[in-house]
Every structure is written in C-alpha cells, then in structure tokens.
C-alpha cells in the first residue's frame, strides 16, 4: 500500500512538473515572438551557445570519428569488411553520434551555465528587478536562450559532422593505410541527404531541450547557493536524459519504414 502511495505521489509530481514546464515554455515562446525583441540578448546567446561551444564540440567529434574508424577496423577486419569503414563512420556520425554527442556536450556546458546564471539572478532578485524596470523576463532572459538553442545546435552539428568524418579520414588514411581518394569516394557514395538532415532535425530538438531545461530549472530555483546548485544539476541531468529518450523516438520516426 505504501509502495502504491509512493508511486502515485511520484506520478502526480511528474504530471505537475510537466504541466508547469509546458506553461512556462508556452509563455516564453509566445511572448518571445511578440515585440519588443531583444536582439542584443539573442546575439549574445548565439555567441555563447554556438561560437564558444565550437572547441568542445569539435574536439569531441574529432576523437569520436578517430575512435570509430579504429574500432571499426579492428572489428571489420575479422570478416574482411574493412571497405565499409568509411560508410560506417559517416553514417554513424551524421545520423547519431554528431547530434547526440554535441547535444550532451552542450547540455553540460550551456545547460548548466543557463541554469546557474538565471538561478543566481532569481535568488538575488535580479529577475524581480527586471520586472520592476518594465522588462518582461520571459522576453529578455528566456526566449532568446530558447531560440538561440534551437538555431545554434544544428550549426554545431554540421561542424561536428565535418570534423568527425575528418577524424575518421585521418586515422583511416594515415594509420590504417587507406587510399585517400577511395576513402572520400566511399564516404560520399552511400551518404544520402536524409542522413544529414535527420541529424540536423535531432539537433534542433536537442537545442530546444537543453535551453528549456536550463531556463526552466534556473528560473524556478529557490533559496541561495544550494538552490542554484540543485537547479544546475537538474538542468544537466534532465536535458541529458531527455536527449537520449528523444533520440530514440526521433530515430524511430525518421528511419522506421
């Protein structure tokens, strides 16, 4: 009986949080689409989420592509299928690893920063101060971050795709002795537009998830430093889990025939 009560309580809490989050995002998006627009804030977020995440996303993609080529070689050589390495690298990077790894890295870097910044503003009354200065916090703080997240993640994933494939090329040609021209031909031969744009669709959704979680948990943080710390943890954990769950759902929707 106690177990049923506990499960019921958790379920009700889940429904309550989902409802609050939905209302929060509805307010942020609808109000963000109406003037006045804070372009400077939007540009700042483009810079934070996009440009400043390039090194971490680039490095992750580079080494993932390199490891992928190396691992595929050691596995595929057992049944003489080394020729498929280029295809495996490019398809894995564009369809899955590019968007998912970029999403997880940005969740750690940007989701945490958003929750910490907005959370600190909340507990030090800076959000209230915005309201008293006739500035809607939803328009000024939340909407630019959400829009920038949706727009910047696909751009980061394009970079991750290119760098990841290049990492595979480097290992395959310089370490494993593949012919560069053949490798490039094999990479492009079986790659379809859908492989790339499905990854970009995923990236847009992941960008929305990361910025939403960062903003929601930061905006609703309570107390002092401890509250901000909890908000940061919740933002990263919830964004990471949602990215993995959503990735499965999107893969099923985009590729299941």
């Amino acid at each position: 009986m106690i177990l049923v009560t506990q499960v019921g309580r958790v379920f009700l809490k889940f429904l309550e949080t989902t409802g609050r989050l939905s209302l929060f995002l509805k307010r942020a998006i609808l109000q963000g689409l109406r003037p006045p627009y804070y372009f400077k804030q939007l540009l700042r977020q483009f810079l934070d989420i996009g440009y400043l995440s390039l090194p971490v996303v680039g490095l992750t993609a580079l080494f993932t592509g390199m490891v992928l080529a190396l691992q595929s070689y050691t596995g595929f050589s057992r049944f003489n299928a080394e020729g498929a390495i280029a295809n495996v690298v490019v398809l894995s990077i564009t369809r899955e690893l590019g968007p998912v790894l970029a999403g997880l890295m940005v969740a750690g870097r940007i989701g945490a920063a958003m929750a910490a910044e907005i959370g600190t503003m909340r507990v030090t009354e800076q959000v209230d101060a915005l309201t008293t200065l006739s500035t809607n916090p939803m328009k000024y703080l939340i909407a630019p971050r959400i829009f920038a997240g949706i727009l910047m993640l696909p751009l980061l994933v394009i970079v991750a795709d290119i760098v990841g494939v290049f990492g595979g090329y480097l290992v395959s040609t310089y370490r494993l002795g593949f012919n560069p021209a053949t490798y490039i031909k094999q990479t492009t031969e079986f790659l379809e537009a859908q492989d790339v744009y499905s990854g970009l669709i995923k990236a847009g959704v992941f960008g929305f998830i990361i910025s939403s979680m960062g903003c929601y948990h930061g905006y609703n943080s309570k107390g002092g430093a401890q509250g901000v710390g909890q908000a940061t943890t919740k933002a990263v954990v919830s964004a990471s889990i949602l990215i993995l769950v959503t990735n499965y759902i999107l893969t099923a929707l985009l590729f299941e025939r």
């Binding site: 030090t124 800076q126 209230d128 101060a129 006739s134």
Partner: protein, 259 residues
Amino acid sequence: MEPKLSVSNLYKSFGEKQVLSNLSIDVMPGESMVIIGGSGTGKSVLIKCILGLITPDSGSIKIDGHELVGQPMAKRQKFLKNIGMVFQGSALFDSLTVWENVAFGLMYEKKMAREQAKEKALTLLATVGLDKRVGELFPSEISGGMKRRVALARAISTEPNLLFFDEPTAGLDPIFCGVINTLIRDCVKKLGATAVTITHDMHSARTVGDEVAMIHDGHIIWKGKASKVDSCKNPYVQQFINGHADGPIKLETTAEEVA
C-alpha cells in the same frame, strides 16, 4: 484627494503560514510612507504584491484608482513604467556595468540611444555621489554602500512617480546609512514622487518618512506622523522602536522553549 496607492483587505498565505491578513493602507500623493515591523511580518511580501511579483490570495491594490489585482502582466507593465524600486540586496545586473545598470530603463523602456543613456546615467551617478569611473566597473567590483547608491540611481533614472525602498540601509555602516537616507529624501523630494519605504531602522524611518505605519501579524496596527512615532502610546510600536525583548511582540521561538 484620491490616494496614490491604496491597498485594502489584502490576504496572502504561503501554505499554512498567513503572512498578510486583512491589510489595508493608503498612501497619499507626494507622501513618504515608512512601514516598520519585525522580521517575517510581511513587509517585503506587501511590496512584492503591489509590484505584481507575488499574487495575493484576495484583496485590492489600486494605483491612481486603477485596480492591479487580477490584471494581466501587459496591463500591469503600464503602471510599472511609473514605479521605481530599490531592492534590499540592490539586485544590480551583474553581467552589466554600473552605468548600463543605471541606463537599463532608459535604453529598454524609454528607447533612448545608448550614448545619450550613458550620459544621463553618469549624471545620475554623480547625483548619488559616484564618480564617472565607477560607471565602467561591474557590480562585483564595488562596495555594498556603492551598490545601494547605484540601485537608487537606477530606480530614479526613468523619473518614476512612485518609489519603493526595501530595507535601503540594511547591512550598511552608520555613515553610509546617513548618506543613503539623505539621498532617498532628496531624490523623492526632487522628483515630487510618492515613496514607500520598508525598514527596521528607526533612524532611517524618522529621516525619510512623513508617515509611519507599523505592520504586525500581517496587518497594520498603527499609523501616524513620523514626528509622533516616539510619543505614541501603542505598546507594539513602543516595544519595536525601543528594541525591548519584553512586550506584546513575542519572538516565535524563545531560547527557553528550544532548551
């Protein structure tokens, strides 16, 4: 004459705790009202209800006769344009420089050009006794007393006609307290604004207030001229202004009860 600010029968609770209970108070135009009361008696909650940062459970809040309770945010923002607020912790935007903090309302609300807003912000900083070099610093680089002055400059930047001060001298040394009190009094007079100040500090209350009201158990228990507060017979007011441990105001938990 119609009150500038009229609060009537205001109730607000957080869970089981009733913070505001049938609170009513009127502030006349041009008046400087000081609200005193112990910690946790609902002073800050009252201001936040007026500003729309907290939604009251019931009651009425009117500014210039216009009802604010239950109004959508867009409508409330029309009134917020004429309101300035100095928060207890200053609440300066730490990602902006000092002058950008002061010019925030000018740039975003009054749509003033950046250069023009900077010029006005530096003039306002001079008004509160801060050098223009301070304008280029970030809030984390200035002292608590300077932050409070910057917050005051920010609050008066858009020339509001209703000003709120939440514990403006809390945590400051006596000299800075005196400076802030004088600045508040001068700025309010210069703007011809109506002011509501929340404070524990009786020296501050006597300096900035025309009227003093005392809040206890979520409602106003005494209201009168600032000059009469010392001679009033209300035992709650007397205990509060004299800082006596014994009297009608009981601490929620005494040391004996804990033991």
